[in-house]
Amino acid sequence: MAADGLIEQYLTSFATRVAGRRDRADLVDEVADHLYSACERLEALGVDRRTAEQRALARFGEPRLVAALITSVPSKGNIMSLFLSRRLGALAAVTALLWVAAAVAGVFGNSELAGGWTQERYLASSVVIALACLSTTAVLVGVNLRATGRLDAATRWIAAIGVFSGIAAAMLSWVMGLWMLPLTVAVVWTLLRVRRNHAGSPVFTVVMLVALPLAAVAAVVGSVAGLLTDVYFDALSWTTFLGLMAVLVAGFADLAVRLAQRTGAHRAVAG
């Protein structure tokens, strides 16, 4: 077996694409056995080694495509994936509702738009926004676990950043930049990590990847300017706030619906 042969290269490439799976060693061994078997069969027919490797690989399919197809099926031992898909769908739905509540509460609690401002309203809105941040964090952790099958360092960081956003929202919800920025970092980091096997729609993923950083930057600019100059940028703040809410509600509702469809499909296969 050529140590640096084409099959070895293919297997290395395939292995990085299934790196998030707990059963990656088994997946790589299974593919390796296939490729070497195919190659040996061609060699037995008189084909030289290099041509045999090329043909075996061409027949097998491109590593990115094959890895994507294989990882689309959760492994038998990886019950976490299906378990999480079910719980995660419900949690994503709750999170979408919490963001709707947060948007309404934010308008009531942080502005004069809906009658006079009161401290109670502000505190109530802070609690709702903080809950939405924490619920979002829980979904993000679930999405990471589902994609990678383990609680790795990046997932722990995302959890910590998400919890920080929740605490910031509870303490100082009116300084939007303070909680929007970490929340955005947690969401965007997660989406970038799990892009390949994210259950949500690719369109919403792109929308979130573009809109959330923009909203976060606008929130930080608005917060800093508000703190430094005493001029409160109402229009900018509310556009940012409601824009962020709309994107999050759409993203989580989409995730909830798609996960529900997926677990429905799994039940149909198993049934």
């Binding site: 299974e30 593919v31 070497y36 078997s37 197809l69 099926v73 492994s75």
Partner: protein, 112 residues
């Protein structure tokens, strides 16, 4: 043979091949190709998602063997898989015979 046409029946074909005894993924592909005289010839990597999905659904199970000098994953049917295969086989035969009847284009009602 159009690979799209094959896709819808792949589960049944894979179950039928695995029912012949413990077999690895490459063996499934080989038999699919050989037993169909080369008609069923698909990108070989695509058989694994099918095998894994059938295993998840409880229709297949696997064991590892080192007999070939490499780790080899061998699949076999579970009881549920055997039951599913015979049910799907019966469905398929019924379907084929119904289609055949129509394709024969015999005048109907036929008077012998």
């Amino acid at each position: 043979m159009n690979s799209e046409a094959l896709k819808g029946h792949l589960d049944l074909l894979v179950l039928a091949i695995v029912s012949g005894g413990p077999v690895h993924g490459y063996g499934v592909i080989e038999q699919l190709r050989d037993r169909s005289d080369g008609s069923f010839d698909l990108a070989e990597g695509t058989v694994y998602p099918v095998l894994h999905r059938l295993e998840r659904a409880g229709l297949l199970m696997h064991e590892w063997s080192d007999a070939s000098g490499r780790r080899r994953k061998l699949y076999r049917l579970t009881e549920a898989g055997t039951a599913r295969l015979s049910a799907q086989r019966a469905d398929w035969r019924e379907f084929v015979s119904a289609v055949e009847t129509i394709l024969r284009r015999s005048p109907w009602p036929q008077t012998a």
